[in-house]
């Protein structure tokens, strides 16, 4: 009667089935290492040569954005928007025009006003409103929305975000070290967090998604989620390894592996349950609204949750094992367990 995952969970819990996450850790290190290197090298060094790589939204580069909503004109005809913009700015400004939803157009331009005013932006908004036959600013049903971003605003957001990131990392390292009573779990957790952030940002760079403040919010949420996931699995590892003694039948690495296996069903369930609402935001955001806050946050989170779940199992837990297995006590225990096992195998060969 139980679902496939339930009996899979049974087997994992009872130890009837065990996946060797820890034993094959060299393989995962290589996989993750390659992924991190690719996430850094491709968007930063290789892709820019072809004109791709990290694309920052106008919030970071500065510029103007106009969103036309509820137009009855032919929105597929992007020349309409281009003509309207260039009627104000002249041909040196090449606007980026994108169709949004079923009756909207989004127009992005470089910074139109350099003197801190919004004179030219206002005129472009008016021209667009005329071209698409919608009022400026919008009324209850349709209209032109405009946004203008100065060139330093994005830097200010990023500066705040990076400062927040560093303070968070320090605080969370302390909290985890105190809670788990070992700094090694902190290190393993934070390494896997950095791994998640680099890969998520790398995917953005490789695919060419625009990095907007909303995407930055998404990145920051990955901080919380990635560590949250790691803490849940580490708590089980702590529980299983806390009273590891000479009389145990398992080595330290095997105990960690068992904990990872025992929480595997939880990890799968949690990531699916976490992904479902985000996937629905992503879907709705993309189909109904087009580019915007909803899509940008959910895209970053969608990638981040998948990478975060992976890294807890394949990076954080193996790394913790490696950090601990150099300790003399752990080394001794491992040797005794292995010795005992060999002796037992000699004693009772029938069972083999």
């Amino acid at each position: 009667m139980a679902g496939g995952l339930t009996s899979f969970g049974n087997d994992l819990y009872t130890g009837a089935r065990s996946i060797d996450f820890i034993k094959r850790r060299r393989v995962w290190y290589v996989v993750s290492g390659v992924a991190v290197v690719l996430a850094l090298v491709l968007p930063l060094l290789v892709l820019p040569a072809f004109g791709h790589g990290f694309r920052f939204g106008i919030e970071f580069t500065g510029g103007s954005q106009f969103t036309v909503n509820g137009s009855t004109k032919d929105i597929q005809n992007t020349n309409l928007a281009k003509a309207a913009v260039q009627s104000v700015t002249g041909t040196e400004v090449e606007p980026g025009v994108a169709v949004v939803g079923t009756n909207g157009v989004r127009v992005q331009t470089t910074q139109l006003d350099t003197d801190g005013s919004t004179t030219r932006s206002d005129r472009v908004a008016a021209a667009l409103g005329k071209a698409y036959d919608v009022p400026v600013p919008g009324n209850a049903t349709r209209g032109v929305s405009s946004s203008f971003v100065g060139p330093t605003w994005g830097q200010d957001i990023s500066a705040g975000a990076i400062r927040g990131l560093i303070i968070f990392l320090v605080l969370v390292a302390i909290v985890m070290a105190v809670y788990f009573r070992t700094w090694k779990m902190s290190v393993a957790g934070i390494v896997s967090l950095v791994h998640d952030l680099i890969i998520t940002a790398g995917v953005y760079g490789i695919v060419g998604f625009e990095i907007t403040p909303a995407a930055v919010i998404g990145f920051l949420t990955i901080l919380g989620y990635s560590l949250y996931d790691t803490v849940v699995v580490f708590d089980k590892i702590r529980e299983n390894t806390s009273q590891l003694s000479d009389r145990s039948t398992r080595t330290f690495a095997e105990t960690v592996n068992l904990a990872v296996n025992q929480t595997l069903v939880r990890s799968i369930n949690t990531s699916i349950v976490g992904l479902l609402p985000i996937a629905s935001i992503l879907f709705i955001g993309t189909t109904l609204l087009g580019a915007g806050t909803l899509r940008d946050i959910s895209l970053a989170l969608f990638i981040g949750i998948i990478v975060g779940t992976y890294s807890t199992i394949f990076v954080a837990a193996p790394l913790y094992t490696d950090l601990r297995s150099t300790e003399p006590a752990i080394k001794l225990q491992t040797r005794r367990v292995l010795d005992a096992r060999r002796n037992q195998a000699v004693e009772a060969p029938v069972r083999a």
Binding site: V144, S146, G160, I167, L220, N269
Partner: protein
């Protein structure tokens, strides 16, 4: 049996506590509804909902960076003074609901709801300006004049606007041309919406900031930059004794002292109202004192019917003139109400779909226990609503799109607490415990994990909230809030519910659809419908073995038992 009574009593107590919390929250919020200023019932009902941020309700958001004249960052005092001035301008422009807040030490976030006029938007982002002008004419403002509507008055163009003779100084009445006289006579303060910056070299018709007095003023004679400071205090006589009246002491810098000496020497000999000088902030007269003596040392004392508060207010306004702050527009965002409402709708649809998907998955995984998941998420939603409502009422919180996203994202994180808990119960069932025992033991283990992981989440939200600006803050708030509520729901609802459900035969006997069927979970089977007794010691190691040892895997235990048996026989 006492061991079964205690969980039940605990569960009842917890659930009662939860009901009390919810009722208290609702009661507190309904005070807000009854005291709401809305006159209609619909208006009152609306105040029951959290207020929406600009990106959902539509409006204009302007983020201004404030810089001092030499390009440095303004002090906190200057920034809050700027906020006060912008608030006045927004209110004057017909946006009394404007949300104005400071961010990150030098930014001012101005949110104008609805569709503010271009003039309002312009006035908000202009630098504040203080000027001193001599008074030429003054009169009580007409409250209302018939027939002309609310449009600003424009004098007929036929009237001449060139002075009959070249004015000799700023107080010369020859500046009052027929055109200006006509404008002054017909000027209605309420209808006018003068730009904050007016040309300094020409006369100006304007009103005081309460719209009770109108003025015809000469050109600017001392700009605000001439002020070096202003304080409010009690008047002291030359002997140093206080007279008990509040005054504002104004000091000028060297340029200001010279300029003010010139105007003061001239004005002191003139007839009223020409012996008055007007202090203008943003083109409105904030004070028009009479010049009683020629002041050449740059230290003026303004007296009048001041209270402590009004003197302090004027002093702080004058200080603003001394400390000019320039605003540059960092970001301006106009969101049409359509876009806002379609985003809110999309957010709500996404949330609903997400919730349904989570529920379907929970049914697939946990059968009837999924109803506990759904009910817990529901209770969480109610609590979130109550808190947001309260924040919206007391703290002026506005729910933004980023905030909505935070709530949707937290569905997953909240549901994870249940997953951790349920998986622990299942683990205990696999160990062969009865359901009631499994719920208690599973809870003790799960609680630790849930609290630790939620603490990390809360830390993330807290750091983001304190350090971040704008949207990030709104997101961090709802995320942190949801995390706290998650803890509350798990402790006060999910666990007590399971304690109660564990006593129902449907769950206790492990019905196939209960999601807690020991057979499906592969519990250690000991024949004749008996499952392994809890904490199966029984082996040769006895009770001295540590917890970790006891919790060896079931496969190992089976093997160990088998090994013991074979050894025993051999």
């Amino acid at each position: 049996m006492p061991s079964t009574v205690t969980p039940k009593r605990h569960a009842r107590r917890a659930l009662t506590g939860l009901v009390v919390i919810i009722l208290l929250g609702l009661g507190l919020n309904s005070i807000g509804v009854f005291t709401s200023t809305a006159s209609t019932f619909a208006g009152k009902a609306e105040s029951l909902l959290p207020k929406l941020g600009l990106d959902l309700a539509g409006g204009t958001q302007i983020i201004l960076a404030a810089t001092t004249e030499n390009g440095g960052n303004p002090t906190a005092d200057q920034l809050s003074q700027s906020v006060a001035i912008i608030r006045q301008r927004a209110a004057a422009g017909g946006s009394p609901d404007a949300q104005i807040s400071t961010q990150g030490g030098r930014f001012i976030n101005v949110s104008l709801p609805g569709t503010p006029s271009q003039a309002t938007i312009n006035s908000v982002r202009e630098a504040a300006r203080m000027d001193f002008r001599p008074v030429l004419l003054t009169d009580a403002a007409a409250t209302a004049s018939a027939g002309t509507g609310d449009k600003p008055y424009t004098p007929p163009a036929s009237l001449g606007n060139t002075p009959s003779a070249k004015p000799t100084n700023g107080s010369d009445l020859s500046q009052v041309t027929p055109y200006l006289q006509n404008e002054f006579d017909n000027y209605r303060c309420a209808a006018e919406n003068k730009p904050a910056q007016v040309k300094a070299s020409v006369p100006l018709v304007t009103c005081d900031n309460t719209n009770t007095q109108k003025f015809l003023l000469g050109p600017v004679e001392v700009p605000g930059t001439g002020i070096s400071g202003a304080t409010a205090g009690l008047q002291t006589t030359s002997q140093g004794a206080t007279t008990g009246t509040w005054v504002v002491n104004l000091t000028f810098n060297s340029t200001g002292t010279q300029q003010f000496a010139k105007i003061s020497e001239r004005l002191v000999g003139l007839q009223p109202p020409q012996n008055q000088f007007a202090i203008l902030l943003d083109g409105k007269v904030i004070s028009a004192p009479t010049m009683n003596a020629a002041i050449t040392n740059g230290k003026a004392e303004i007296s009048g019917s001041f209270t402590e508060d009004s003197s302090k207010e004027l002093a702080s306004q004058l200080k603003f003139g001394a400390l000019p702050v320039n605003f540059t527009v960092q970001s301006q965002n106009t969101i049409s109400a359509t876009l806002g409402s379609s985003q809110l709708l999309a957010g709500l649809i996404a949330g609903l779909i997400g919730l349904i998907l989570v529920f379907v998955y929970a049914v697939f995984q946990y059968r009837l226990l999924a109803s506990v998941v759904l009910a817990s998420l529901g209770i969480g939603a109610v609590l979130t609503f109550i808190v947001l409502d309260f924040l919206s009422w007391r703290e002026g919180y506005r729910l933004s799109l980023a905030g909505v996203t935070g709530i949707i994202v937290s569905i997953g994180i909240t549901a994870d607490s249940f997953i951790v808990y349920f998986e622990r119960i299942r683990d205990e069932l696999r160990e062969g415990r009865s359901l009631e025992g499994a719920v208690e033991t599973g809870w003790r283990r799960a609680r630790r994990t849930v609290l630790a992981s939620d603490a990390v989440n809360l830390l993330a939200a807290g750091v983001l909230f304190v350090l971040a600006v704008g949207d990030v803050q709104g997101f961090a708030l709802t995320l942190g809030l949801s995390t706290l509520i998650d803890v509350l729901v798990v402790v006060l609802f999910t666990h007590p519910m399971l304690q109660l459900l564990a006593r129902r035969p449907f769950f206790a006997e492990g019905h196939a659809f209960s999601g807690l069927d020991p057979r499906a979970l592969g519990a250690v089977y000991r024949g004749r419908g008996q499952f392994r007794a809890p904490l199966a010691a029984g082996g040769r190691e006895g009770r001295s073995v540590g917890e970790a040892q006891r919790r060896q895997t079931i496969a190992e235990r089976k093997a160990a038992d088998l090994g013991a048996d074979t050894k025993g026989r051999s």
